[in-house]
């Protein structure tokens, strides 16, 4: 693993670690605050969130929808694609419990997504300005579910 990959993989681990406790202030601190139109594409959103107002509103809403959230990343792949611009891909697993009445028992749900991220080198370090989460599609996930069932049989 080269130095650039190590540096950005550490930043990504730090970033996804902020999921625990839903520390979205921490997440925001690892984005390029000077970028006027950052783009975040969460897997559960119908359209991309472009600009700080949309991203901040999304993070605020996440605290209402989820009772708990944890994430971890793996398989980091990093390239310098222009001076001061890096392209990173990684896998991320999230585990969440949705919010709801205390009287209703809820099991955690989890999934893996493939992330494409673009980062800009700033005086304070590398910072995100584009991040897209991509699960496998419905057909591929149905196949994964069926394979899991067959293994249990």
């Amino acid at each position: 693993m080269n130095t650039l990959t190590q540096e950005i993989a550490a930043l990504i681990e730090h970033y996804v670690g902020y999921s625990e406790g839903m520390n979205f202030e921490g997440k925001r601190s690892l984005w390029d605050q000077d970028d006027p139109s950052p783009l975040l594409m969460p897997e559960e959103e119908s359209h991309p969130l472009i600009g700080w107002a949309a991203i901040n509103a999304y993070w605020s809403q996440s605290r209402v929808i989820m009772e708990s959230l944890k994430s971890r990343s793996a398989n980091h792949y990093v390239r310098l694609i222009a001076p001061g611009i890096a392209l990173a891909t990684y896998d991320m697993r999230w585990v969440a419990t949705l919010a709801g009445p205390a009287s209703v028992k809820r099991k955690p749900i989890a999934a893996d997504v493939r992330v494409t991220a673009l980062l800009r080198q700033k005086p304070e370090g590398w910072r995100f300005f584009h991040l897209m989460e991509g699960p496998v599609d419905l057909r591929a996930m149905a196949r994964l579910a069926a394979e899991r069932t067959a293994r249990k049989a």
């Binding site: 783009l39 359209h47 390239r79 611009i85 493939r114 991509g134 496998v136």
Partner: protein
Amino acid sequence: MSSDDVTALVDVVMAWATAWEQRSAARIIALWDVSDTASWYLPAGSAEPSLGSAVVGLIQRRCLNAAEIGYRAHHLQCRRLAPDVGLVFFELTRSERPVGQHHDQPHPIGDQVRVTMVMRQSEKGWRIFHYAEAPLAPLLELQAYYEDIAIEGLNNISQRSFVGPVTP
């Protein structure tokens, strides 16, 4: 970003979309940076990305295995990341009818995905070296399907071919 910059990036996306609809592997690959051994291609239905030279083979197989492809890119967001590097994010409505699809499944299948595409300018023009598709979370896509059926209400149960139309 100037309109010329945007036009060049949009032109690549439109040429890419047309080439997919024509199922022309040669035209698709002509827009790919085949010299980049670390290029990355991740369709929504693949568990693993294809890298470098493996991308060409996957594109060829996808074109050969489809009798029909729909590929409509919309809501493009273009950015120039460096003088010779461009980023386009777009939403994609795609459909496909596989070759030899069974007679009881005559309709194309499709979905909506989001795409991050990164390209670089070479002497030959703009060439794509990173392409990743991101569908809506399957859990929500399935929920949306159930909601669509609910909108149809109770009066639209599929007619089976082995019974004639009967009004209760």
